[in-house]
């Protein structure tokens, strides 16, 4: 293994299909029109010296090092800003160029410290490389002149010198090493789209400045790391590199945070991670990253990680550390005992969207074949299960239709109930790039999100009341149908025409017009009509949506309504269009694909199908139960009722993440065996009897499937700290329960998945190693995968229009609960925070805050930063208020990253009609000033402390 170093071509790839041939240093080179001479030379294997150019940003032409001579042209143009032309004859190395370049380097080095040996970038510094490349041997100007290097010069303070900025927890900014190449500034603009950096001053006073000469932490910087990656010197350097030194080998793997699925190089020294660097060939992220994947991996060796199995008879007892064998047999005896006492269906399990496909597959296999029932569900239940139902009903597949590259061909982007800038940041950056090129943006969200406020982006924002998605989507359909904007050719060709006509007649009813529904939705009918017209007629229209769509009583209905709109306007089946669910967790798509839902086997095939079951029965050598099992909320209900008494939970914190915490507490307390398999003693573990320590994504092999159906490898870079990868733990538990599964490597599990699942038939580790990644379906028909779905027709045959009538949720505001609470995420934290709270990311978000409109705050006497009591029909908690007009009057908002806030104490039992996906996004609440934590919070904290006590195993003699 060695360090993977990607080629830097200096300027971005040209997309032109017209080819141009020229001669560089005597070699004929053929490249796409629009390519720079610098890139063409690199294509031919000739590296022109450069400092300000890198292929992640556009050419800038400031360093004057990449000069070339072109026959018949005067002067020495910069090769980065000079495009190729047919027949050009270019020389990259001449006496004149050598002299010029050396002169340029002399100037740079005369104002640069010479501490190379002790510098953090030693071994990875382009300035050092270029000094070598141009043969710099002497600096005629000396180092005594005006400079940015020394704090004191000639006995006085040096006004040009600036101290290091160490405010960001992950990287340092050392202005004395800056060559003002502007790569960081351009990366922040062009790649990330945040515009946090600028160059202040002119000439010799030019400095990289976060915001208005603020610290990095105090500026708008979102710590994505693009500037650090772009920096050619030690000016912006990861603190981990400064501390550890340069990595010696690297392994390509996949981020374990959100559903974007960024590919990273884990750069290592032995088994120690030095840094994670986004991988340029990663097809989801194309070399970009966010603060979580790039920097927030410290949780993997956090001191609170549990590395030994533990058991206890009662949750009031302290934990007892035991051997793996003892933990497995203890758990197996309990689970089998429950089945003997209460029946075969009295136990079940939950697979994790954070674990690999292979691990998820094994857990569902253990449950279906080993437990002998179908009581398996996954955290997708509480996020994207309506996507599964809605898209399967209308299109025939439970998945997004596009790849992320598709956004580059989009003209109108509709973002509904999603805040990609916070929750899917790398996709947001790619989206914002397209928006800056002129694509239009429509945001449908109760809150003015970061997408609406993004710099250089103009959004048409429809701020709807929480819970009225279906009314808004149907009103958009009303405008499209009644104004004659339907793509009739597409609909006649691809969809069921009778169903379309029924649907069109329904949406055209006057009561579905924007004007009639405005009283419910709060959306200005004029804006809504403009949005509908823009989407229907503005070119390629793509819809991206998130949990603001699915987590409602009518979640599935909204997904169907979205699919209806895409079909009616013909926005399906080619690049640039489509319906794209943004998945919350890294492997939500994969866990759904792997048969984690109680009613279907891997590949979304219903458990009642005899032919499908036969296949699995033959390979697994066991009889399968043809009846669907319990979904997570049903499991809780059954537990309280006394018919569901044991659960195996892999990598999910149901107590914190599921709604109506007191109901979940009641359910968990009622169970006789709760097995938690996780990295940390999470909140659910407070009610557990068995704790099986988990392994992090750095410690195991496997695959994740991201929101674009892309299957990517997760590669082991270190030995599991707990001694076993998660798939081995599941096998151990299964064995103790008398169900043998024999695999020596996760690749064998994938082979079994491929053998049983038609959409995965062509997937193997060998193919993933060869292609980097594939998007399912990957089989005989599509051996290299399927970037865009439904190209020549829908998977189900004809696209199905379904009538979507708005039904108000039963969660209503009233005199006692006059405000609507909706929830969301923040960039620096992830989900329930189990990982990110155990990293330096807490500097950005140390607690959940309640956003409240100034009008509502004033009425209640609440000031910014005050503690407030947040009370719903389900429960109450306290947190601090943030007064902002990002939310409309009548709406309040909070995040759910911290267990001491417990936002889900407030949320209710209401759920999606089709899938029981909880209605997190609408809760009627009241706010009042408070003095501090509620009784619930105090009692919860006391129980949690009590429950987390551990008695260490006695040392072996």
């Amino acid at each position: 293994m060695s360090l993977i170093e990607e080629i830097d071509y200096g300027t971005p790839r040209s997309k032109s299909e017209t080819m141009v041939t020229l001669t560089i240093d005597g070699n004929q080179v053929t490249v796409p029109e629009g390519t720079s001479i610098m890139r063409a030379a690199m294509d031919a294997g000739h590296q022109i010296p450069k400092l300000c150019a890198t292929d992640m940003v556009d050419a800038f032409g400031s360093c004057r090092l990449c000069l070339v001579e072109i026959e018949g042209r005067a002067g020495t143009p910069a090769s980065c800003t000079t495009p190729v032309m047919p027949g050009l004859v270019v020389h990259t190395q001449t006496e004149r160029l050598k002299k010029l370049r050396k002169g340029v380097m002399e100037l740079y080095i005369s104002d640069h410290p010479l501490d190379c040996l002790t510098c953090g970038a030693n071994g990875d510094c382009e300035l050092q490389d270029m000094a070598g490349a141009v043969g710099l041997r002497d600096v005629r100007y000396g180092y005594e002149g005006e400079n940015h290097v020394f704090a004191r010069s000639h006995g006085c303070d040096n006004d040009h010198w600036m101290p290091k900025d160490e405010s960001n927890p992950y990287f340092s900014y050392d202005p004395s090493k800056c060559i003002v190449c502007s790569r960081c500034v351009r990366a922040c603009e062009e790649v990330q789209g945040t515009f946090a950096l600028t160059i202040s001053g002119r000439g010799f006073d030019s400095r990289v400045s976060p915001g208005m000469s603020e610290s990095f932490l105090g500026s708008e910087c979102v710590s994505c790391g693009a500037c650090v990656q772009a920096c050619p010197t030690a000016t912006l350097t990861e603190k981990s590199v400064i501390e550890i030194g340069q990595p010696e080998h690297s392994v390509v793997t996949t981020c374990a945070y959100c559903g974007v699925g960024c590919a990273f190089k884990a750069e290592m020294r032995g088994e120690e991670v030095v840094r994670m660097v986004p991988y340029k060939d990663g097809k989801a992220n194309r070399g970009h990253s966010c603060v979580k994947g790039r920097f927030a991996w410290g949780y993997t060796n956090h001191k609170e990680r549990i590395l030994k199995p533990m058991i206890r008879d009662r949750i009031e007892d302290p934990w007892k550390e035991v051997s793996w064998d003892e933990a497995f047999s203890f758990a197996a005896a309990k689970m089998r005992g429950i089945q003997q006492k209460y029946g075969r269906d009295a136990i079940g399990g939950i697979t994790s969207s954070r674990c690999t496909n292979e691990e998820t597959y094994l857990v569902q296999k253990l449950i279906r074949a080993g437990f002998g029932n179908n009581n398996v569900d996954t955290c997708a239940r509480v996020c994207h299960s309506p996507t599964g139902y809605g898209l399967a009903t209308t299109f025939g597949t439970s998945a997004g239709t596009q790849d992320f590259d598709s956004v580059e061909d989009t003209d109108v982007v509709v973002v509904i109930g999603a805040n990609p800038a916070s929750a899917h940041p790398v996709f947001a950056s790619r989206l914002k790039k397209r928006l800056r090129q002129g694509a239009k943006l429509i945001v449908i969200d109760p809150r003015r999100t970061e997408m609406v406020e993004a710099p250089h982006v103009k959004a048409l924002h429809l701020p709807l009341m929480p819970g009225t998605n279906v009314a808004v989507m149907t009103a958009i359909a009303h405008v499209i149908v009644t104004e004659g904007l339907v793509n009739e050719t597409f609909v006649r060709e691809r969809c069921d025409w009778t169903e379309f006509e029924e649907w069109a007649a329904f949406v055209a009813q006057p009561n579905n017009s924007p004007e009639a529904t405005a009283i419910l939705t709060g959306v200005d009918p004029k804006d809504l009509r403009e949005a509908a017209r823009t989407y229907a007629t503005g070119g390629n229209g793509a819809i991206y949506y998130g949990l603001g769509v699915t987590e409602h009583s009518q979640g599935s209905t909204t997904v169907i309504a979205i699919a209806n709109l895409a079909m009616a306007t013909g926005n399906i089946g080619r690049p640039g269009v489509g319906v794209n669910p943004l998945r919350g967790q890294n492997n939500v798509q994969g866990s759904c694909d792997m048969g984690s839902f109680p009613h279907e086997l891997p590949g979304y095939r219903h458990i009642s199908g005899d032919a499908v079951r036969d296949q699995f029965e033959a390979l697994w050598n066991v009889k399968l139960n043809p009846e669907p099992g319990l979904r997570i909320p049903n499991m809780f209900d059954a537990a309280v009722e006394g018919t569901f008494m044991g659960i195996y939970v892999q990598g999910e914190d149901i107590l914190q993440s599921d709604p109506n915490t007191s109901h979940v507490v009641a359910a968990l307390s009622a169970m006789e065996c709760v097995i938690v398999h996780d990295l940390f003693l999470n909140e659910t573990a407070n009610y557990a009897h068995v704790f099986l320590p988990g392994s992090s994504f750095l410690e195991k092999d496997g695959t994740f499937t991201n929101a674009e159906r892309r299957i990517q490898r997760v590669r082991k870079v270190m030995t599991p700290k707990n001694g076993m990868a998660d798939w081995e733990v599941t096998i151990g538990l299964a064995k103790a329960m008398g169900f043998e599964m024999t695999y020596s490597h996760p690749s064998e599990i994938m082979d079994e998945i491929a053998a049983l699942t038609p959409t995965f038939a062509g997937v193997s580790y060998a193919k993933l190693d060869e292609l980097g990644s594939v998007q399912w379906p990957c089989n005989e028909k599509a051996p290299e995968g399927t970037p865009v779905m439904h190209i020549d027709g829908f998977v189900r045959g004809k696209g199905k229009f379904v009538v979507t009538e708005y039904v108000a949720t039963d969660e209503r505001t009233g005199p006692r609960y006059p405000l609507l609470l909706t929830t969301g995420r923040i960039l620096s934290q992830y989900n329930v925070g189990a990982q990110t709270r155990r990293t330096e990311n807490v500097v950005w978000h140390a607690e959940d805050r309640l956003e409240i409109h100034p009008h509502d705050a004033e009425q209640r006497g609440v000031r910014d930063g005050d503690w407030v009591r947040l009370k719903s029909r389900a429960g109450e908690t306290t947190l601090r208020a943030e007064i902002t007009d990002r939310v409309a009057p009548g709406v309040v908002y909070t995040t759910f990253h911290h267990p001491d806030t417990q936002a889900n104490v407030i949320t209710t039992d209401y759920s999606d009609w089709a899938t029981n996906c909880p209605e997190y996004k609408v809760t009627a609440v009241q706010i009042s000033p408070s003095n501090g934590p509620s009784d619930w919070q105090k009692a919860y904290d006391a129980q949690a402390r009590q429950s987390r006590r551990i008695v260490p195993a006695e040392a072996a003699e």
Partner: protein, 77 residues
């Protein structure tokens, strides 16, 4: 399981299919419950139906009646 919760869930399913008209709604509701409810939930709602089915919307009651006739559930294990 608590019939109240199941009645609520069944009626919620009923409300979605209502707008498709009676002839589509009844089989739609029956199919949905058949596909997604675990046997103990089905047994409980059928028992409630046998006990008079109070609180069930008309389409839902009809759907459950027809579903019950065509369903053989494994005995509670």
């Amino acid at each position: 399981m608590s019939p109240d919760r199941l009645i609520y869930m069944a009626n919620q399913i009923g409300k979605f299919f209502q707008s498709q008209g009676h002839s589509k709604a009844v089989p739609g509701i029956a199919e949905h419950i058949k596909k997604f409810w675990d046997p103990r939930m089905k047994r409980a709602i059928f028992a409630h139906l046998d006990a008079g089915g109070a609180g069930l919307a008309p389409d839902v009651r009809e759907a459950l009646t027809s579903l019950k006739q065509t369903t053989t559930l494994p005995a509670a294990s």
